[in-house]
Symmetry: C2
């Protein structure tokens, strides 16, 4: 494709995406294809000869769209949002066009420096400690693919620290609440932990600090080595907030790495009035949040901050001859390849930079506050409804409720809501209790969408 | 940004990228900024109020471009190519615009099915065994972020298999040649291996099968558990090809997981005449290659195939209530979240699909053959030059040579080549021997670019 052809096809694709943005609110959110239906429309082998670009665009409509569930629809209340925005989408286009690698500072200095700088901006925007900044240190921030990667990675670093101190890997223990995201257990197991304690939670489904202290002491008494604990600020199931300060206290006392997982709720920390929920995070060893969830920056863009970059780099640095260069050897630059498992890396900071500048910090706060207010209003209405009940406090912009008549009625309620083609919520469960999970936060979601959801809820209840 | 604003700004960005494609051959390839220079141009804090889109575009030229090293320039012969192409770039735009998540089949069936299908196409295109296909099984392919992720992952799976068989994690041993990519040692260490053997290579810098057999037997005799070996098809340093069939034989005999790392050279397997280099791969447990290197598909797009998907899924599957769904429970679908460490995933198969269709298999072969022919011709000229000598056979499209006068002359030669703003090669080393590494394969590279390089080489030599 010549630049001239790129220009022509590129304009067509921009029109296609703009039209998609316009019509996404009219499309049924959930794809209804059956397993294998998309594949059945594809030829058995790759074409031998080139196909015209028009064929690709045609198949976007005819083959791809029927198999897409529309995460960018304003009636999206399922899972967590994975919200995109215009500046973010266009930054992806630029990053792909530049095709620059940021594995080393030297392989494209702007990729590294803009990333380091924008993550330092975010330290201030989220009220995190100054030592998380690369420009201050000894910590720093880095973009990873997903919170699962970050959580896995800190388990590796904590593991290496403990093993370096003489512990056997077979004795290491990782902790989180039983409501922690699956990435905590999975990250620990992938990192080689054979002991993972998913601890008791309190009535609000937050980690009980006492349960953590007891488990750590029991494990020590049994000759095991408590190594890392993850605090969730906003669990996936119900948005529960673990007692970060109390966990920090225990982690400090017993020498555990303390990881804070604010994958979704981290974006709420833009708003000063939310920051009490993360009090204690200033003493954490690491903190992760996903701009690709609730900060208008399309997937993938996860941020990991560490309080000290040295153990991270110690775990990951291997320097073959073909990557040696004067800048790295000067010690004056960051080489992000030593900050994660992948070697190559694309210019993901560009979209974050463009989003922060396009919205402005004030604009981002207004959007996030609006989502939180919409969720609070939904919670108030639920509390007044005779047949519905919340199963957890409204947390940030997440609302969890059930039908007073129990599980079958709750499942029927979720199904009735999702029968509306322009609404999508997640049916979930805590233990044996079924509930409906509503996450407000899609880029385009407004009060009218929540009103539409409320009508669907009350009609069905 | 409204759809109408997106349309307007999107057209501007397409023009910017098209113009970048046109002028990339005129820009000095290597950024010459000093450490901190880009950051110094950025404000200390994020803007409070929105900035106009024009400011973002302006800063692309004024702040970003001076800090970009141009991997997409036709004079790019450094590292390996990370080649992009028009259809790939535009597919990234569509994928970002759709903003769909492919973590489960159910969260957007097209994302999973097109990925599974296109990777099955590639099994045939690269001459790999049928059981690597998801449609055949028991294996299957999955897109990962980078070959480092894939290599790390198979070390985790092999580790879990060995531990499941009763071995202590502290006794497991991973093997590769000392010329293996750094991701082999790093992947093994991140996966918790404390024993990593980087074995002797032969004169062609390929793994010596005898060295592997000896090491495995010694380790077994010492009570250790040989667990996994990586064969490289095309090492990073010189493109050396390990004896895959002999390694497969040893892996089979001693029960090791056998991983084939064809990160770069996998693309050459499009051409039937190259496939003898991977003979034996049909018995491998896993195989990885990077369309984002030499297959015109911009980063990130790594492919991992496994011969049996069951142990992979066993290592990675954790199913919380909010991810349960009828399709997953039916067992009829692939949920790719169980195939890698991240949970979320974007629609990376779209660009691979578009590249395969836009070029056609025949078009891809023609391009790859052209690169290989250009490298061969460069090798022939080097062999005839009295002051230059190859340090390894020309491998696929990689040419490694030095100045006959030794290291200082070789370093001066590399520096002289790289003093040309429109050329970029990698100075490297094997042990104490410095050499110049030329990787042909950038999307736009033609005979004229290699001619220009040859002139620079001979002028300096």
């Amino acid at each position: 494709m010549t630049p001239e052809e790129f220009r022509r096809h590129g304009h067509d694709v921009v029109e296609w995406v703009a039209a998609y943005m316009e019509r996404v609110r009219e499309l049924p959110i959930v794809s209804t294809v059956n397993p294998g239906e998309i594949r059945a429309r594809l030829p058995d082998a790759a074409p031998e000869e080139p196909e015209p670009f028009a064929a690709l665009l045609r198949d976007l409509d005819e083959i791809v769209l029927p198999g897409i569930t529309h995460w960018q629809a304003p009636g999206w209340f399922a899972y967590f949002p994975a919200n995109a925005s215009g500046p973010s989408i266009l930054a992806e286009l630029v990053a792909a066009g530049l095709g620059a690698q940021g594995m080393l500072w030297a392989t494209s200095p702007a990729v590294t420096e803009i990333e380091a700088h924008v993550l330092d901006w975010l330290v201030d925007l989220l009220g995190l400690p100054q030592h998380f900044k690369t420009a201050v240190g000894p910590g720093g921030g880095v973009i990873q693919t997903s919170a699962s990667d970050s959580t896995h990675l800190v388990h590796v670093v904590a593991r290496d620290r403990a093993v370096g101190d003489g512990a056997s890997i077979e004795h290491l223990v990782a902790y989180g609440s039983w409501q922690a995201h699956s990435s905590v257990e999975r990250g620990a197991r992938v990192a080689g932990f054979s002991h993972v304690r998913l601890l008791d939670a309190d009535d609000a489904l937050a980690l009980r600090a006492g349960a953590l202290r007891d488990a750590v002491e029991q494990d020590r008494a049994a000759g095991l080595v408590p190594t890392i604990v993850t605090s969730a600020v906003g669990t996936t199931a119900t948005g529960a907030v673990d007692p970060v300060a109390a966990v920090a206290e225990i982690a400090g006392k017993y020498g555990l790495w303390h990881h804070v997982d604010a994958a979704w709720a981290g974006s709420a920390m833009l708003c000063e009035e939310q920051r009490a929920h993360q009090a204690g995070a200033e003493r954490a060893d690491s903190y992760t949040f996903n701009p690709h969830k609730w900060l208008f920056t399309n997937f993938d863009c996860n941020v990991l901050w560490v309080a000290d970059r040295a153990p991270l780099i110690t775990s990951l640095s291997i320097l073959p001859p073909y990557l040696r260069n004067a800048a790295s050897e000067s010690g004056e630059v960051i080489d992000y390849r030593d900050w994660h498992v992948p070697l190559g890396r694309r210019f993901r900071a560009l979209k974050l930079w463009w989003v922060l500048r396009s919205y402005g910090a004030g604009g981002l706060r207004r959007h996030v506050r609006e989502h939180i207010a919409l969720a609070a209003e939904l919670g108030r209405r639920l509390d007044e409804h005779p047949r519905l009940e919340r199963v957890a406090p409204v947390s940030f912009a997440l609302v969890c409720f059930r039908h007073a008549d129990g599980n079958p009625a709750t499942e029927a309620l979720a199904a009735a809501i999702n029968a509306h083609p322009d609404l999508y919520v997640t049916p979930s469960a805590i233990g044996d209790m079924r509930f409906v999970r509503v996450a407000v936060g899609q880029t385009q979601t407004t009060a009218e969408d929540v009103e539409r959801l409320w009508k669907a809820i009350t009609d069905a209840a």
